[in-house]
Symmetry: C2
Subunit: 238 residues, 2 copies
C-alpha cells in the first residue's frame, strides 16, 4: 500500500438514498428532478458528496434531513446497501457512490428540497427510468428491505409510534407485493416475543367502518426467529 495523496486520480465519493415510505398502502420512493446535465429533467435518487469530516452514514443522514425537511431524522432507520463504483456510471468523472435505504413512517409532503430541486413521492412501480444507475440502486433497496422483513423487526420502521397489526401487515404486503393471511400474520407477530407490545387501552378506527383495532408499539427485539418467509418467490421448495 502506497499513500501518495496525488498518485491517483481523485475519486469523488457520494451517497445516494432510496427513501422509502408507505402512502395509502403502497410503497413510495422520494425522487428529485435533475436540473443540470447529464440527465437534466430526469428523476433521480437524492444524494450528495461526502464532506471531508463525515462518514457515509453521517452524510446520508444529513442528506435525508435536507431532502425531506424533517427536523429530527435521528430515529429513522438507515441501511447501507452497497457501493456502486463502475468507472462509467457518471459520464463526467469517477464517482463512487455509497447507497443507503432510508425508511420513513409518515410521509410529509416534500415538494422542493433545500437545494431548490423539485422533489416528490412516487409510487415504486411508477418510478420508471431514473438517472445514472439509480434504477438498479432502487431495485436493490427494495430487495434488501424485502429480505430484511423476513428475519428482522424492520417493518415497524415504516409505522408511526403506535400502529395496528393491519398497518404492520400492509408494510409486508406493499414491500413484498403479495397478500398475506390476516389471522396467520397476526398470530406470527404476536407469537414473536418483543416484536410488538400492546398499548393497553388504545384502539383506532382504520377504514371508517369496522371494529376498532388495538394499537401496538415496536418491541425490544430486533431479530425474528423463526423468520417470516414470503410466499415462495419462485419454484424453490424443499
Amino acid at each position: 500500500m502506497e499513500y501518495d495523496k496525488h498518485a491517483y486520480e481523485p475519486f469523488a465519493v457520494t451517497v445516494d438514498l432510496a427513501v422509502l415510505t408507505l402512502r395509502a398502502g403502497a410503497l413510495h420512493v422520494l425522487l428529485v428532478e435533475r436540473g443540470q446535465e447529464p440527465y437534466a429533467g430526469s428523476w433521480a435518487l437524492p444524494g450528495g458528496f461526502l464532506q471531508p469530516d463525515e462518514s457515509a452514514e453521517t452524510a446520508a443522514r444529513r442528506e435525508l434531513a435536507e431532502e425531506t425537511g424533517l427536523s429530527d431524522v435521528s430515529g429513522l432507520h438507515l441501511e447501507q446497501l452497497r457501493t456502486y463504483s463502475e468507472p462509467d456510471r457518471d459520464p463526467r468523472m469517477r464517482v463512487v457512490s455509497v447507497a443507503f435505504a432510508a425508511l420513513l413512517p409518515d410521509a410529509p409532503e416534500v415538494h422542493g428540497g433545500s437545494d431548490a430541486a423539485r422533489a416528490r413521492w412516487t409510487p415504486y412501480d411508477e418510478a420508471g427510468a431514473l438517472a445514472f444507475d439509480h434504477d438498479r440502486i432502487l431495485a436493490d433497496a427494495r430487495e434488501r428491505v424485502g429480505a430484511k422483513l423476513e428475519y428482522t423487526c424492520l417493518a415497524t420502521a415504516f409505522c408511526p409510534p403506535e400502529f395496528t397489526l393491519g398497518e404492520l401487515q400492509q408494510v409486508y404486503e406493499a414491500v413484498w407485493g403479495t397478500g398475506l393471511d390476516r389471522p396467520n400474520f397476526r398470530r406470527k407477530v404476536l407469537a414473536t416475543p418483543g416484536f410488538v407490545e400492546p398499548v393497553p387501552g388504545a384502539s383506532r378506527l382504520t377504514g371508517g367502518r369496522g371494529k376498532p383495532a388495538a394499537l401496538y408499539r415496536p418491541g425490544a427485539a430486533t431479530a425474528l426467529h423463526p423468520p417470516l418467509l414470503r410466499p415462495t418467490p419462485e419454484g424453490h421448495s424443499a
Copy 2:
C-alpha cells in the same frame, strides 16, 4: 449536486478483502503482515487502491489474484460486504474502503504475496487484533457468510468441484461454530432441488477409515427455500 473536481478534498478509495477458506475443518482467513507505519508489524486484511479504470469488484478480484497467487480467480465467489468510511479509520488521510469477502475452496500456501509482504493463512479464532478497523471487517464477513449459508447455496463455494456431503456439512459447522445432525443435514440438502447433484459412480475415502462417501457437484440453484436455519443463536423463538 456540483461537480467541481477539486472543490473537495480528494478521497482515496480502496478495497479490503476477507479471504476465507477451510483448512482441516476450521475456518481460516488470509492475513498479510504490514511493513510500514502505521501498524507496522501488525497483521491486516489484504487490499489496495482502486485503479482509475476499474470498479471495486474488479479491483477486489485483481487483489485476490495477486495475494493468493492463483492463476484463475474468475470462478471464485466475491461478496461485497459494506463500505467503511469513518474519517479517522486511517490516521494519514481519508480512505474509504469497500470491503469484500472472498470464498476459496482449496487453500494454496501463499507465503509471500506479490508485493513481498508476508502472508499466511490464520485460523479465524486466532486472528486477534488486526490493523485499522480490519477486526470489524473480518467479523462482518463471517456474520454475512454465516447468514448467507442459511438461505443460499453459497456453501459449495468453499468446496472443491466434487465434494462429499460430509465436507459440505463441515463448511456449515466451521462457519457457524456449531454441530449439526448428520442424517438431518443430509436429507435437507438432498431435498432441496438444485443444491447439489450426484456424480454418478464416484466416491472417496475421507478419514482413512470408514465407508467411502458419494461425491456431489454444485447444482443450478442459488437460493434455499425453505432456509437451513442455524440452531437458535440466542433466545429468540416463536
